[in-house]
């Protein structure tokens, strides 16, 4: 039996298709201005690449900030339950799920049965989301994918006082004026966003093991700062941006 999960985020759409609960295919499409158009394109790509037909899928569940815009799903679940479901299916020992996307961040605490015990969400402020690193990379004139590796070359921690992304940009200009080495500024950026995420994790209470999911988990600089700040190991799954869609697909399969 085929089921699918669609995760409609601010910047990307992920689709995971399961065959009897096992991942059969996954697709990532950039969410354009018109989400419905982007979804149509994603399905065309899936059909062309995998041969899986839309009408061959028994049930589709959508999640993500744009889940209400879906045209294919018969059901929706919240990002929190999708993330928890997906993370737990990947690793039964996970008790804290940290999900950092382009415009949102969340910390979720789950029990051994996979039940969500508590969660904290930030969807109001760019300082705790991928949009922050994106804006900072632009200000530093460094491609986003290079910002993480660059920060690993840092030799000293430079404090960043601003919490707001807009103010942080001005502060970055001051750091540039003071001839702060670029790797140190890159680290300061990741320390700053990690700080915001950690305060959310502390609100729900840190319990090991911790899994980090969402697109920002691809950023090695952020992962390093987060580990340092949390003082604990952080598991990053290989397909970190698909975990929400995977959770939705599992929900569609009745799991």
């Amino acid at each position: 039996m085929l089921t699918a999960g669609i995760d409609i985020g601010a910047k990307t759409i992920e689709i995971v298709i399961l065959d009897d609960g096992k991942i059969a295919f996954q697709n990532l499409t950039v969410a354009g201005y018109d989400v419905r158009e982007s979804l149509k394109k994603a399905w065309e790509d899936i059909e062309a690449q995998s041969g899986i037909k839309l009408d061959g899928i028994k049930k589709i569940v959508a999640t993500g900030a744009g889940r209400k815009d879906t045209i294919y799903a018969s059901d929706t679940i919240t990002e929190v339950s999708a993330a928890a479901k997906g993370a737990l299916a990947l690793n039964r020992d996970i008790r804290t799920v940290v999900d950092v996307g382009a415009e949102e961040g969340r910390a979720i605490k789950v029990d051994s049965a996979g039940k969500v015990m508590d969660f904290a969400i930030n969807e109001k402020c760019a300082a705790g989301a991928g949009a922050f690193t994106e804006a900072m990379a632009r200000a530093l004139e460094v491609p986003l994918e290079e910002l993480g590796p660059l920060s690993l070359q840092s030799t000293q921690a430079v404090p960043m006082n601003a919490q707001c992304a807009v103010f942080a940009e001005s502060e970055l200009v001051t750091l540039v004026h003071n001839k702060t080495p670029k790797p140190d500024m890159a680290r300061a950026i990741h320390d700053a966003i990690a700080d915001r995420i950690v305060s959310m994790v502390r609100r729900v209470g840190l319990e090991e093991k911790v899994m980090l999911i969402g697109g920002v988990a691809r950023n090695i600089g952020f992962v390093t700062s987060l580990k340092r700040d949390l003082e604990t190991e952080v598991i990053v799954p290989e397909d970190c941006e698909y975990v929400g869609a995977y959770g939705a697909a599992l929900a569609a399969a009745g799991k």
């Binding site: 201005y33 415009e103 402020c125 760019a126 992304a165 807009v166 001005s170």
Partner: protein, 292 residues
């Protein structure tokens, strides 16, 4: 180089009806903010001269520059003839020639009391990188305040981001935002970064600039109204800071509050420096009375 839409007009002024030579006490107040700096010179507690400039990357230099500009066209007045200077604002400890630093909250309340009169009870200061709602008594003494300096929403920096996005000079944004026939719903995001992406979406959907600006201006007004509601709004009401010059934000703020703000008689950005100069005068008088 790209055009700098965020650039606002710097200014200086000398009171034509006063001469510092006839006065007894010449004092100054210097407000070094994160975006703008002001120097105010007072003669016997009357406004004599001021300058209003952008803050540079270095606070001490910004303080010196703005003070020197205020001293220009003052009939030979020099810095060492100024008896006392109080520094205020974010860079208040970096005013090299100041004898004392006093917080901007205290200075703003004191300055607003002078600029708008003793009936002012609530001051909304909308600055470059922060906004403060201040409640004060008839002497301009702070009785309560609330401040947001953590987030760009509701600040001048937020407006600068929109000036760049829309390619509209910051000086013209207020007027332009009022050129809508019907008021659009406010931008829903609080965060300036998210509001900017939301606005880009609206532009792509075909909204004209003035409509986008109207939507952002009312969101900005709404943001500071929540500060004012928390502190308890009491009339008379005055708005200071750079955003007070933006009619689009001021009118929407007044509408949402159901309260008219007092009409400004001076440059709204000098309130902090005026308060600092008045504190300077009080400190000079205190020292004099000690000597007697």
């Amino acid at each position: 180089m790209a055009e700098e839409y965020w650039r606002w007009t710097e200014s200086r002024w000398t009171n034509p009806d006063l001469s510092w030579k006839d006065g007894e006490i010449v004092t100054a107040g210097v407000d070094v903010g994160s975006v703008s700096s002001q120097a105010v010179i007072m003669v016997d507690g009357r406004l004599y001269a001021y300058a209003n400039t952008r803050t540079g990357s270095d606070s001490p230099n910004s303080a010196i520059n703005v003070m020197n500009w205020a001293l220009e066209e003052t009939d030979g007045l020099s810095l060492d003839q100024v008896q006392y200077t109080v520094g205020t604002g974010y860079g208040r400890v970096n005013v090299p020639f100041a004898q004392r630093a006093i917080t901007e909250i205290a200075c703003h309340a004191r300055g607003a009391n002078f600029m708008y009169g003793p009936t002012v009870r609530t001051v909304m200061d909308m600055g470059g990188q922060d906004c403060k709602a201040i409640h004060c008594d008839e002497k301009g003494k702070v009785t309560n305040f609330l401040m947001n300096d953590k987030c760009a929403a509701g600040t001048g920096r937020g407006m600068e981001v929109f000036a760049d996005l829309l390619n509209v000079s910051i000086n013209e944004m207020g007027e332009l935002s009022l050129r809508v026939e019907e008021e659009p719903p406010p931008v829903s995001s609080t965060c300036v970064v998210f509001a900017k992406s939301e606005a880009s979406g609206l532009l792509r959907a075909g909204w004209p600039k003035e409509k986008v600006l109207a939507a952002y201006s009312s969101a900005m007004a709404h943001r500071v109204v929540s500060l004012l509601e928390r502190i308890g709004m009491e009339e008379d009401f005055a708005i200071t800071g750079g955003i007070a010059k933006n009619k689009g934000v001021v009118l929407r703020l007044e509408k949402e509050l159901g309260v008219k703000a007092l009409e400004p008689k001076y440059d709204t950005q000098i309130a902090g420096a005026v308060g600092a100069a008045l504190f300077s005068k009080a400190l000079v008088e205190k020292e004099k009375s000690k000597k007697k």
